[in-house]
């Protein structure tokens, strides 16, 4: 992959590749992807909330087997990643590929079918997890029959993404396109490998743990990062009306992220041959390099720009970058032996992941969706104010969740390392931090509800207009019908 030179974009565009035409071609697939994603997001955070209530009151819902901790917790994490993160990222990626290539989306209806199939796969997987059929591998709990549906659906969407890209009119690549294309390849590779080697032809012994960690590390630290950075590198310059600081720096981020990110994820205390956790911890420390480059890029691209963010997409993207930096610092710290002696397998890890998945990835993508949605729908968001409120819920919620748990996690680890303190005392001592965390979780849930509300309102309004138009068509005496929604 070579760095593209500075380009003069052709000003004159063919009629069918006007932005309005491109946006319209993305409409139905994106509605399907975003709508489902918002629904799963809310459902997932409800499950997550139930899971954390069990720490406050252990007998809460303990009689219903399918609502016990061991099921609702994986249900919440899986909905967050497979229900929300992947479809929302795919939607944004499709739109960016079409816009940057100056072409309409290829075969929108097949993409819509793919999106539907994906959501069916998530639904099957969710039911399986709640029914107790989870695989037992973290972030990979959905059993193989759900995995097959998911993989097929993904391929169906990805094929038309590549086909759109192939038909592009603007041949020079923009950095976001590298990130999107790499992400499109990355997921089927890791998901099929992990599913085959863990579920269809299970490997033996510790290799299973190694593969499960390899998969979740790649999913979280490579896939989500590729998708999230594709969005921030696309939207930030656009929102502040300035070129991206440097395509070489983007290239640097791209390769360092892929090179180091793919090793991250094996905890220091893992019972694997020593070189694996050691290398993985080293990679975690190296993640500081791409993170520093991202921060540099974002700061230099947006510095001095006169655009006020006002709680809109720009705010989301900036906060996302901050959360990325903070989370990578925690990640790198937990790679150091004298830190991970105390942080391994404590709340510290939860805090780090929350900052990454929600603070960085989800917030960035929320910003992107709020930008794209009015354009593909063709009208302003019905509840534009909710965007601002959602932003603050997300920011305060993330920090209120992550910071107390990070501190509490370290204290927990220090106490766990002291054999004189009984285990139950250790657990009790973390409760105070955990209460704060639960408040954060509630705020996040509120933000997610606003997201669902906004997307739902767009969908309802759009489909009502379609229905009205259809009715008008049927009943109108004249063959022309015009609808102003």
């Amino acid at each position: 992959m070579t760095a593209p030179a500075v380009t003069n974009r052709p000003a004159a565009l063919a009629a069918d590749s006007s932005t309005a035409g491109i946006d319209a071609s993305c409409r139905l697939p994106l509605f399907m992807l975003f709508g489902g994603a918002a629904f799963w997001l809310v459902l997932g955070s409800i499950f997550g909330f139930i899971a954390s209530l069990k720490f406050h009151k252990a007998d809460f819902l303990a009689d219903a087997a399918w609502l016990t901790f061991g099921r609702v917790y994986p249900a919440s994490t899986n909905l967050l990643v497979y229900g929300f993160a992947i479809p929302v990222a795919l939607g944004v990626a499709l739109w960016m590929l079409a816009r940057l290539g100056r072409v309409q989306l290829a075969r929108p209806w097949l993409v819509t079918v793919g999106a539907k199939l994906w959501h069916i796969g998530v639904c099957v997987g969710l039911i399986a997890i709640l029914a107790g059929e989870a695989t037992g591998f973290e972030w990979l709990e959905m059993p193989r029959y759900a995995a097959v549906i998911l993989l097929l659906a993904y391929l169906l969407i990805a094929v038309w993404a590549f086909s759109t890209h192939h038909a592009r009119k603007e041949r020079t690549l923009y950095p976001s396109q590298w990130f999107v294309l790499a992400a499109l390849f990355w997921f089927p590779w890791i998901y099929s490998t992990a599913t085959l080697l863990l579920q269809f032809f299970p490997v033996r012994g510790v290799t299973q743990a190694a593969i499960a960690w390899w998969y979740s590390g790649n999913l979280l630290f490579v896939w989500l990062a590729l998708a999230g950075l594709a969005s921030s590198f696309y939207f930030l310059p656009k929102l502040v009306g300035r070129p991206l600081q440097s395509s070489y720096l983007a290239l640097f981020v791209f390769w360092t992220l892929i090179l180091f990110g793919t090793w991250v994820g094996i905890p220091a205390g893992a019972t694997l041959p020593a070189w694996m956790p050691t290398l993985s911890n080293m990679a975690a420390m190296m993640m500081v390099v791409p993170a520093a480059a991202v921060v540099l890029m974002v700061v230099q691209t947006t510095r001095g720009a006169k655009t006020a963010c006002g709680g809109g997409p720009l705010c989301y993207m900036k906060f996302g970058t901050g959360a990325l930096a903070l989370s990578v610092l925690l990640l790198a710290a937990s790679g150091l032996p004298f830190v991970n002696r105390f942080t391994d397998f404590t709340w510290f890890g939860t805090a780090k992941l929350q900052l990454w998945v929600y603070g960085f990835f989800a917030m960035t993508l929320f910003g992107a969706v709020y930008y794209i949605l009015p354009r593909v729908a063709g009208f302003e968001l019905p509840a534009a104010k909710a965007v601002r409120v959602h932003f603050w819920c997300g920011v305060i919620g993330t920090l209120l969740f992550a910071l107390p748990l990070a501190i509490g996690g370290v204290l927990q680890g220090v106490k766990l390392a002291n054999p004189d303190i009984p285990f139950t005392d250790v657990t009790k001592a973390t409760l105070m931090f955990f209460r704060l965390g639960t408040m954060g979780e509630l705020l996040i849930l509120a933000g997610n509800l606003l997201f669902l509300f906004n997307i739902g309102a767009v969908l309802v309004r759009y489909y009502l207009a379609v229905c009205r138009a259809a009715c008008a068509d049927l009943t109108a005496p004249l063959p022309t019908a015009e609808v102003k929604p």
């Binding site: 760095a3 593209p4 030179a5 500075v6 380009t7 974009r9 006007s18 932005t19 309005a20 319209a24 409409r27 940057l100 100056r102 603007e170 923009y174 696309y234 310059p237 656009k238 070129p243 991206l244 600081q245 440097s246 395509s247 070489y248 720096l249 640097f252 205390g269 019972t271 694997l272 041959p273 020593a274 070189w275 050691t278 290398l279 911890n281 080293m282 420390m285 190296m286 500081v288 390099v289 520093a292 480059a293 540099l296 230099q300 032996p337 009015p374 354009r375 063709g378 009208f379 302003e380 759009y462 207009a465 379609v466 138009a469 259809a470 068509d473 019908a481 015009e482 609808v483 929604p485």
Partner: protein, 205 residues
Amino acid sequence: MSAEVKSPNPTTEAEPTASSATVPMWLIALMLLLLLGGAVYFDARGGWFDARVYRPFAALPEQFQPPPPDGPDLRPGRRIYDAACAACHMVNGVGNPAVNAPPIAGSDWVLADGPNRLIRIVLDGLTGPIEVSGKQYGGGVMTPFKGTFTDEEIAQVLTYIRRNPDWKHDASEVTAEQVAKIREQTKDRAINWTPAELLTIPAKD
């Protein structure tokens, strides 16, 4: 689709472009620096890709070094000594004049008949002028390890320094029970021992 809707931004939106500023040198330097640190880290702990080496060991010989045919296993004690004591007494036990740490190898304190004084030294630390194997040392302070190590671990490290074949030591083994007993007897002690004080205590019960 018959629902004709107007776009909020009817003008053709410009797509972002990227300029070609170079990657700053400090970023590359940071990466190289971290890589160097990472390499040192890996070298010390990674077992060089050998699938048979598991943590907490870092090399095959260490993990598979057979325990001495007779007598106790010295490996756990060696790890503790290298991690906690070698900073002052050096890995080869010769001591370090820079911190006034006397030698362990060949020390008559270490090779005493019983471990009673040694256990006290490690539990509560030591300070004051000391004569080791006929030579005078002084001015140094040895820190207490009461809160750091369990009885088991103190017994292991003392067994190691008393029996280390490299130093041709062959004194008796120290047990966790012996450490526990002395820890209990001295649990109220808050200050370091002095050699003079220790000499009043019999080395062996």
